[in-house]
Amino acid sequence: MTAAALFEGFPEAVAEGDVVRLAPNDLEAFARAALQAGYEMCVDVTAVDYLEEREPRFEVVYNLVSIQHRSRLRLLLAVEGDEPHLTSVTPIWPGAGFAEREVYDMFGIVFEGHPDLTRILMPDDWEGYPLRKDFAVGSVPVQFKAAHLVT
């Protein structure tokens, strides 16, 4: 399957340049098709919390790289804020394993089908999802005379 034919099965995917916006339900099928089309590496999985700026709240970003076609592809998936969940692409690209754990740890997005979805960066008994916008930075007031603002 060539890279161009990749999009034929997904009429709802909106593509501009190398950015593709997908519906969360299409993720697994698209990922398998992308692997077939030559995107051998899933280089990065991350998420963004838009809190009130956008509905739905979270956007999960997958960065794919094709060595044979020398091209990149970025998938953006909008995920709802209450009980966010997505299918895991770990069976397709095992390299996404740690990255999905990190997204779970930092944002609380559950990846169904992930073999080991536990906290990876924070201690296991940590409460809260640090990179969400409603989680405070957690800074400690510093004892300078002029510093009364804490960001």
Partner: protein
């Protein structure tokens, strides 16, 4: 395209086992039956000789914890090893001991303060972190650094690649036992660090490459320093080759150890020297060139077997290639500005502030609120000494990023450890970790 063996071993290696847990919480390994059930669910073929153990009884295996405080784990990496005698059957890397919340901190710092934060992620290659972040900001802001700044950036990042690989060789040698390699590596790195100190003011974590260019021009006399470095480093590399290249102990301990194939690398998103040592020709400086690198002549060294020896050779060859790039950069250094001329982004020179009201206002705005970057999102990746270092940046039009994520090469490279260490000896673990060259600041951010 993921290898069959990949799926079996990976699933087996990352299960949890209910047993002795540690103080830090339940990073445990599950029992083996779950392996076959899980494997069935994801459709992998389970082969008898690995996943379902019918040879050794369970009580002959021991779970040993290596780290996080251990001299050979290259920082605070914790490895949980399931050993049968001296052979590792399963392993699990546990990270997070250096998690600094840098991505959260990045949301509280302006775009000009960003490099200060990002540079401390991969602290052995600080210029690369700064370059990646600056390129992402420049792409979103629609500006481009002037030619002199771009050549300075190439010069500094390639010198950084040399110093980072020197540390990789030094620690690789020390972990395997060639302690003089450690002293050699650090001694030669001092040459490069003193040049960095002259140019940027700091030996490490420079905050020099900023969106728009670089922070300051090269100091007078830089050409002599760079020529000295380019003259001395290849000679020293010959010294290291005398020590290591044909040394039978070195060859015994590195050849055939920690093998990973090209397909497994691709499946596990491994990039950088480990990928090239397995034979895959992928270097972002050639594939998606940045900062003018398409005009430089250099080769990409490749290995064949994907073992520790090949990764060591790839690093040595990359140092030689980087010396070539540094020479070319020094020759072609154009005259001109070292920062983009856009007054909204580059602070004005200090004496202009006394003369012009506009300069004063710009200075104030840039240093308090920060310059604004238009709304958008972008992903920029460069080739750091460890692999593909990427920065995913989202801006909502304010002076601080809405979200800054770094694609850390060591984070992904570590996932391959269970594959490389399967059925090998504990001593080979040390060699393997050293060859992967993880930097825990990069892994945990």
């Amino acid at each position: 395209m993921a290898d069959q063996r990949t799926e079996e071993i990976w699933v087996a290696g990352t299960e949890e086992w209910d047993g002795a847990s540690t103080d830090e919480g339940a990073q445990t390994m599950r029992e083996e039956e779950t392996a076959s059930r899980l494997a069935e669910q994801i459709g992998a073929v389970v082969s008898d000789d690995y996943v379902i153990e019918d040879e050794a009884a369970d009580d002959e295996r021991m779970i040993i914890n290596m780290g996080p405080q251990h001299p050979s784990t290259h920082g605070v990496l914790r490895l949980q090893l399931e050993l049968e005698g001296e052979i590792i059957r399963r392993s699990k890397p546990i990270i997070g001991y250096l998690h600094t919340g840098m991505e959260k901190t990045a949301e509280t710092l302006t775009f000009m303060q960003g490099p200060t934060n990002v540079t401390r992620m991969d602290y052995l290659a600080p210029f690369h972190n700064e370059l990646c972040f600056s390129l992402a900001v420049e792409k979103l802001a629609g500006i481009e650094a002037p030619p002199r700044a771009q050549v300075i950036r190439v010069l500094m990042t390639e010198l950084n690649r040399i110093s980072s690989h020197l540390i990789a060789l030094a620690t690789n040698g020390m972990d395997i036992g060639a302690i003089s390699m450690m002293l050699y590596g650090f001694r030669d790195r001092e040459l490069i660090l003193s040049f960095f100190e002259k140019t940027t003011g700091l030996r490490m974590n420079h905050n020099y490459i900023r969106p728009g260019g670089v922070a300051a021009d090269l100091p007078p006399g830089w050409r002599q320093d760079v020529e000295e470095i380019c003259r001395v480093i290849p000679q020293r590399l010959d010294d290291y080759d005398d020590l290591l290249q044909n040394n039978p102990i070195w060859l015994e301990r590195t050849k055939g150890v920690g093998v990973i194939t090209g397909e497994e690398c691709l499946a596990y998103s491994i990039t950088g020297p480990p990928l090239r040592a397995s034979g895959v020709n992928w270097d972002l400086r050639k594939a998606f060139p940045y900062s003018g690198l398409e005009d430089y002549e250099f080769e990409v060294p490749l290995g064949q077997n994907g073992d520790v020896y090949d990764r060591y050779r790839v690093k040595v060859e990359e140092i030689i290639q980087s010396v070539g790039i540094v020479r070319q950069a020094a020759e072609r250094m154009p005259k001109g500005d070292y920062r983009v001329d856009d007054r909204k982004i580059t602070p004005p020179p200090r004496k202009r502030i006394d003369e012009s009201m506009e300069a004063l206002i710009h200075h104030f705005k840039i240093f308090t609120e920060g310059f604004r970057v238009p709304t958008g999102e972008t992903y920029v990746a460069i080739e750091s000494p460890r692999g593909e270092l990427g920065c995913y940046l989202v801006s909502n039009g304010a002076g601080k990023p809405w979200r800054m994520h770094t694609r850390a090469p060591s984070f992904y490279n570590l996932q391959a450890l269970p594959i490389m260490m399967a059925d090998s000896l504990v001593a080979d673990t040390i060699a393997t970790i050293a060859s992967l060259d993880p930097v825990m600041g990069d892994v945990d951010r």
